[in-house]
């Protein structure tokens, strides 16, 4: 009786040690694999990753900002607003090109295989939901995006009225863009992505302040 007991407890101990070793091997294997994978120790983002979701949705988001900038440049002669619009138009077009090329180099489609914003509804790297992704659901309208009615109103507005509408819409658009950029910063450590997203946060925050000044001067 006591012999059987001692044998089975030894077996249990061996099984435990064995399982622990397998676990260590798994972790070591994954880390070793990641460290030696092409891309400087970072795995290539997959089609449904936060990085790919951000790269697609931010291209869509930026493309509306480019549209707004083109519309206001045609609707006003004001040099301050036209210059700001040219700045946004060229900067965001260039950033769209960067995000486009990320997706190509990662071998993932430009078109999402799931709904827009799905990446932002998933938990952040720390396991929680950062303040910017609170309440987001897949398929919803991206934050700060103007409605088709607002875009039509901007297309027909002229002069100071158009400037005011542009500044209001672009301020909301930038606030939403910053929210999306901060959401990806909470979900990736890939320098390629964090550098661009951090730049968006910094520049768009400054432009929000500037647009509020321009708007105040036009009330």
């Amino acid at each position: 009786m006591s012999l059987t007991f001692s044998t089975s407890s030894r077996r249990a101990r061996l099984a435990l040690v064995g399982s622990l070793l397998v676990l260590v091997a798994l972790v070591a294997g994954v880390l070793l694999g990641r460290a030696t994978a092409p891309g400087g120790g970072q795995a290539t983002p997959t089609a449904t990753s936060a990085e790919a979701g951000f790269a697609r949705d931010m291209q869509t988001h930026h493309s509306q900002a480019v549209d707004m900038a083109i519309l206001i440049r045609e609707a006003t002669d004001d040099p301050e607003v036209r210059l700001l619009a040219l700045d946004i138009l060229t900067a965001q077009s260039q950033q769209m090109g960067q995000m486009y090329a990320w997706l190509v180099s990662w071998g993932v489609p430009q078109t999402s295989t799931e709904e827009p914003m799905a990446w932002m509804a998933r938990p952040a790297l720390d396991g929680g939901h950062d303040e910017h992704s609170e309440g987001h659901v897949p398929g919803e309208r991206m934050p700060g995006l103007a409605t088709p009615e607002q875009m039509s109103a901007l297309a027909v507005a002229e002069g100071v009225e158009a400037e005011r509408l542009f500044l209001e819409l672009m301020t909301a658009h930038h606030i939403g863009g910053v929210e999306m950029a901060e959401a990806v910063l909470a979900r990736t450590e890939l320098p390629l992505v964090t550098n661009l997203a951090a730049g968006m946060v910094a520049i768009q925050d400054k432009e929000i302040d500037y647009m509020r000044e321009l708007l105040a001067a036009r009330q």
């Binding site: 040690v17 064995g18 397998v22 089609a47």
Partner: protein, 222 residues
């Protein structure tokens, strides 16, 4: 001097026998113990070696893992590849080889992307294909209103044109610059595969160039 021999001399025969037995038992136990340690080392060694091999295999798998939806690996059955398309700008009407067209000479003004409920001018839509749009056309005579609604709901919000096209030889066609597929209906799974593979594809001439701010066709609903 108390050495072993002198000790033994003082013991009885029975005591001497018991002592020898005890020594034998001790030696046997020691041997068993050593064997046990050896066995354990062998077992742990094998487990560690196995674990090492396993971690190497996992490392290799992680390193060489390919993303699951690489567009270049998506096969769209029945897709027609049209080579040698001429991307020149013309102000005149163009007689295209394909119906609906899938690239070629086009109007300087691209068609603004979106959902249309009336047929759109070919020469403008072809310019949008050059900019990376996918143009989905359907024959309204072959689809129900409900099917048309489902088609509209399935379209991505940018770089897509959806419009009716009378007299098609299939209910639905999806076209990109240089690529086209005839589809059996709105539920044909190749529709989604085609859009994922070719919308904004690096294989078209100018992906990412504007698909807005030019001309609207008639009947644009969004």
């Amino acid at each position: 001097m108390a050495d072993g021999t002198s000790d033994d001399d003082t013991l009885t025969v029975k005591q001497q026998r018991e002592k020898r037995r005890a020594e034998k038992v001790a030696a046997l136990k020691k041997k068993q113990q050593a064997e046990k340690v050896r066995n354990r080392i062998t077992v742990l060694g094998s487990v560690a070696a196995g674990a090492g091999v396993l971690s190497l295999i996992i490392a290799v798998v992680v390193t060489s893992a390919t993303p699951p939806v690489d567009p270049s690996t998506i096969e769209v059955e029945g897709v027609q590849v049209i080579e040698g398309l001429d991307p020149i700008h013309v102000q005149t009407a163009v007689d295209y080889d394909q119906t609906p067209p899938a690239g070629g000479p086009h109007n300087p003004a691209w068609l603004n992307c979106g959902i249309y409920e009336e047929p759109v001018p070919n020469e403008n839509a072809v310019h949008s294909l050059e900019h990376g749009a996918v143009w989905v056309t359907y024959d309204p005579a072959q689809l129900s209103d409900d099917e048309i609604d489902r088609l509209r709901d399935a379209m991505p919000s940018t770089y897509m044109i959806l419009s009716p096209y009378d007299g098609l030889d299939a209910p639905v066609y999806a076209s990109a610059w240089g690529f086209q597929v005839a589809l059996d209906g709105v539920d044909d799974p190749r529709l989604n595969d085609f859009i994922v593979k070719y919308r904004q594809s690096p294989e078209v001439p100018e992906p990412g160039a504007l698909c807005s701010q030019a001309v609207d066709g008639p009947g644009k609903i969004s």
